[in-house]
Amino acid sequence: MTTNGWDKSAIAAIAGELKDRPGALMLILRRIQDELGWIPEQSVALIADALNLSRAEVHGVVTFYHDFRRHPPGRHVMRLCRAESCQAMGAGALARHLKERLKIDFGQTTADGNLTLEAVYCLGNCACSPAITVDGDIHGRVTPALLDALLASLQEHRQ
C-alpha cells in the first residue's frame, strides 16, 4: 500500500485524471497521500503544471493540511488521539508509554523504519476513549496492555 518510491508517471496519471474536477488540487493531493502515504516534493511541480497554478500555491496547500506528509512514513502508522475526551481517559499516560517504548516522539519514525507515531485530534470515538488507529484500523478503550500487544504484532509484521 505505502511505497516510498517516487513514481513520476503515477503522479502525472493522478493529476491528469483529476485535473478538470472542481477543486481538483485537494482531490489530487488526497489521492497521492492515500496511495503513496506521503506527498513527494517532486510532485509539487508536476501538479502545478497540470493545474496551471504556481508551485507556491500547491506547496501552500500541501503544507496547510496535517494529513499530507512530506516524508515517507514507516511501514506502519499508529495515531493516538490526544483530544479532550481521550485525555480524560488516560491518553496522556498512553502517550508517555509509547514514547518510552518506541524511543520516539510524535511525528517520528522508529530507527528500524517500522512504525511512525502520530498525534490525531479526535477520531470521533469519544464514547470509547482512549482511541488509536493502527494502519487505519480503529481501536477503542485502549490500555497500555493492548498497546503492547499491538506493538508486538507490528514487530512480527515487519515486512
Partner: protein
C-alpha cells in the same frame, strides 16, 4: 424464518471488535448448520454495551452486550438466536432504560435499520419528507422549516430557514448545497453515527434543501478521520442514484441533484464554513471575511446552503411531520431535540437524543452514571474544544442554547466531556491555546499569534513567574482574541481558558487570588 442478527458496523463498535464478532457469529452458525441473516446496522449509541448484538425475535429485538469473540460459542449454546437467557442478555432493546427515555427524531432509525438498504429506509418512513417537499414551492419549504424553529446543529445555532431563504432569493445560474461533515470537536460523534447508521436521512435532507433553493450539485465535506462514514455514504449515494432519489430526475420532480463525498485532510478549521468552502475549492482552509455570507456567494462564488449533518438530517422529519410537530419538542428558543453526546470519563458514554432542557447534572450523573474511574467528577466541558468548563458544583444548568450562553458557555455541537478529579485544569487551559495554535488558519493576528502567546503566558502563570502581571496579560489577550478574531476558533478559545481559570484558580497556583477572579 431465518433469524436476523444485528452487529453494528459503526466505527465505535468496530473499535471494540465488532468485525471479529460478526465474523465469529457467521462462522459459528455455519459450523452448526444454522441459517441466519447478518445485518450490519448502526450503533444504538449505548457505547458501554458495544459491541451490542441484537437478535430479532417474535417479541421484538433482544440485545446482548458487550459481546466479545470469546462469548460467541456460549451465546449459541444458550440459544441467543431465540433470545434466550445468557449473562450478556440485556433484554428487549426497546425496553433498555437508557434508550426508552429518549425522544429519537433525528436518530429514529440509527441502529434499527440496515444503513445501506434503501428498502429498509423506505420501510421506516424514509423519503416521506422529500415526497412532501416535492409538492411544495421553495418558499413553502422555507416556511415549514421556519415554523419548526430548527437551528444549525453544527455549533453556531443559526436559524436554518434564514439560510435557505437567503439562498432561495439569490438568483444564480448554479447553486450548491454543502453538508459540513467535518465533525472535529472532541466529545462529539453524532454526525458520524448518522452517516454510518442512517446515511439516507442525510441524503434526503440534502435533497430537500437542494429542492428548496434550486441547487443541482451537493458536496458532503467529510473529515478524513471517518473512513467508515465515507464507505456508508458512498454506498448510500450509489443506491439512491440507482433508485431515482438522486440524479437527473429526483423522485420524479424533473429536478437534478448530484451528490459527492469530499474527504478533508485533517484540518480542524475546515469545520468553519468558509474555510470548508475554500478547502472544497482545492485551497488552503483559510477563513473568509463575511459578508458575503455563503448563501449569497459561497462555493465557487455561487449561492450555497451550508449546514451541519444533524441540521440537514432533521429536515426530512420536519417536512414529513410538519414544522409544528418538531417545534413541540424543546424549550424557549431551543426547539426540537438535541442529540447529546456524552464522552470522556463517564460510566455510560453514548448518544442520547431528547428535547432541550435536561440539566448538565442529569446528563452527567443520571445518564452517565458518574465517572468511569469511580472518582469524583471535577469538570465537565460542554460544546467541544471551544466550549466552557463547568465545575462539579455548577451543573444545574439546562442544556439549551440560551441557558448555556447565560452561564458563559455554549452548546456547540452537543458534546459533553467529563473529567474526574485527577485533571489539572491549568493543563487543559494550556491545551486549549495549544490546539488553537495548531489549528489556526493564520489569517487573523489575534488567533494566529494570540494562541501561541497564550500557551506561553499560561505556562508562566502555572510556573509562578510574575503571576499577577501575567494574569492581567492573559485576560487582555483573551479579550483581544474574543473580540478581534475573524472566526469562532480564535474567538472562542478564551472560553475554555477563562472558565478553567475562573472555576479552578488553584490549578494555576492562584488559590489566594480566587476572590478577584469572579
Amino acid at each position: 424464518m431465518t433469524p436476523a442478527v444485528y452487529v453494528p458496523r459503526d466505527s465505535g463498535a468496530l473499535s471494540l471488535g465488532a468485525e471479529d464478532v460478526a465474523r465469529a457469529i457467521t462462522q459459528e452458525a455455519a459450523r452448526r448448520k444454522l441459517d441466519l441473516r447478518m445485518v450490519r446496522n448502526g450503533s444504538r449509541g449505548l457505547y458501554w454495551l458495544e459491541p451490542m448484538v441484537e437478535v430479532a425475535t417474535a417479541a421484538g429485538r433482544v440485545a446482548y452486550g458487550p459481546v466479545h469473540v470469546g462469548a460467541v460459542t456460549a451465546l449459541f449454546d444458550a440459544g441467543f438466536l431465540d433470545g434466550r437467557p445468557h449473562e450478556l442478555r440485556l433484554g428487549l432493546t426497546e425496553e433498555i432504560g437508557w434508550l426508552k427515555k429518549q425522544e429519537r427524531l433525528t436518530f429514529a432509525r440509527v441502529g434499527v435499520i440496515d444503513p445501506v438498504s434503501i428498502d429498509d429506509y423506505l420501510a421506516h418512513g424514509g423519503y416521506q419528507g422529500l415526497a412532501r417537499a416535492a409538492a411544495l414551492s421553495g418558499e413553502q419549504i422555507v416556511n415549514e422549516v421556519m415554523e419548526s424553529g430548527l437551528r444549525g446543529r453544527g455549533g453556531a445555532g443559526f436559524p436554518c430557514a434564514i439560510k435557505l431563504r437567503t439562498a432561495l432569493q439569490s438568483a444564480a445560474d448554479c447553486k450548491y448545497v454543502v453538508c459540513n461533515a467535518d465533525e472535529g470537536d472532541s466529545g462529539t460523534f453524532a454526525d458520524r453515527m448518522i452517516m454510518e447508521g442512517d446515511p439516507f436521512v442525510l441524503l434526503e435532507g440534502m435533497a430537500i434543501a437542494a429542492l428548496c433553493v434550486g441547487a443541482t450539485q451537493g458536496y458532503i465535506y467529510l473529515r478524513s478521520e471517518y473512513p467508515h462514514s465515507a464507505l456508508t455514504l458512498n454506498e448510500a449515494i450509489a443506491a439512491a442514484h440507482a433508485r431515482g432519489y438522486l440524479g437527473d430526475n429526483v423522485m420524479g420532480t424533473g429536478k437534478r441533484l448530484e451528490l459527492e463525498v469530499r474527504v478533508g485532510a485533517g484540518s480542524y478549521i475546515c469545520g468553519e464554513e468558509t474555510a470548508m468552502l475554500e478547502s472544497l475549492e482545492g485551497k488552503r482552509g483559510m477563513v473568509r471575511y463575511k459578508p458575503p455570507v455563503p448563501a449569497v456567494a459561497g462555493l465557487f462564488g455561487k449561492p450555497t446552503v451550508v449546514n451541519n449533518v444533524l441540521t440537514l438530517a432533521s429536515l426530512p422529519i420536519i417536512l414529513a411531520r410538519g414544522g409544528a410537530f418538531y417545534k413541540n419538542f424543546g424549550v424557549g428558543r431551543s426547539r426540537g431535540t438535541q442529540p447529546i453526546q456524552l464522552a470522556g470519563n463517564v460510566k455510560r458514554p453514548g448518544l442520547f437524543e431528547m428535547a432541550f432542557g435536561i440539566t448538565l447534572r442529569e446528563i452527567v450523573y443520571e445518564l452517565g452514571g458518574g465517572t468511569a474511574s469511580g472518582r469524583p467528577v471535577r469538570a465537565v466541558q460542554v460544546g467541544g474544544p471551544l466550549g466552557a468548563y463547568f465545575p462539579a458544583h455548577k451543573l444545574d444548568v439546562a442544556f439549551d442554547y440560551e441557558e448555556l450562553a447565560a452561564h458563559d458557555g455554549l452548546l456547540g455541537h452537543g458534546g459533553v466531556v467529563v473529567f474526574d478529579d485527577t485533571v489539572n485544569m491549568a493543563e487543559m487551559a494550556r491545551y486549549a491555546m495549544e490546539f488553537c495554535a495548531r489549528e489556526s488558519c493564520g489569517k487573523c493576528t489575534p488567533c494566529r499569534i494570540g494562541s501561541t502567546r497564550g500557551v506561553e503566558v499560561i505556562e508562566r502563570i502555572a510556573a509562578g513567574h510574575n503571576r499577577s502581571a501575567n494574569l492581567t496579560l492573559l485576560r487582555d489577550l483573551c479579550d483581544t482574541m474574543t473580540n478581534a478574531s475573524l472566526c469562532a476558533l480564535g474567538g472562542l478559545t478564551p472560553l475554555p481558558v477563562l472558565s478553567a481559570l475562573k472555576h479552578f484558580p488553584g490549578d494555576f497556583g492562584l488559590e489566594d487570588d480566587a476572590s478577584k477572579l469572579h
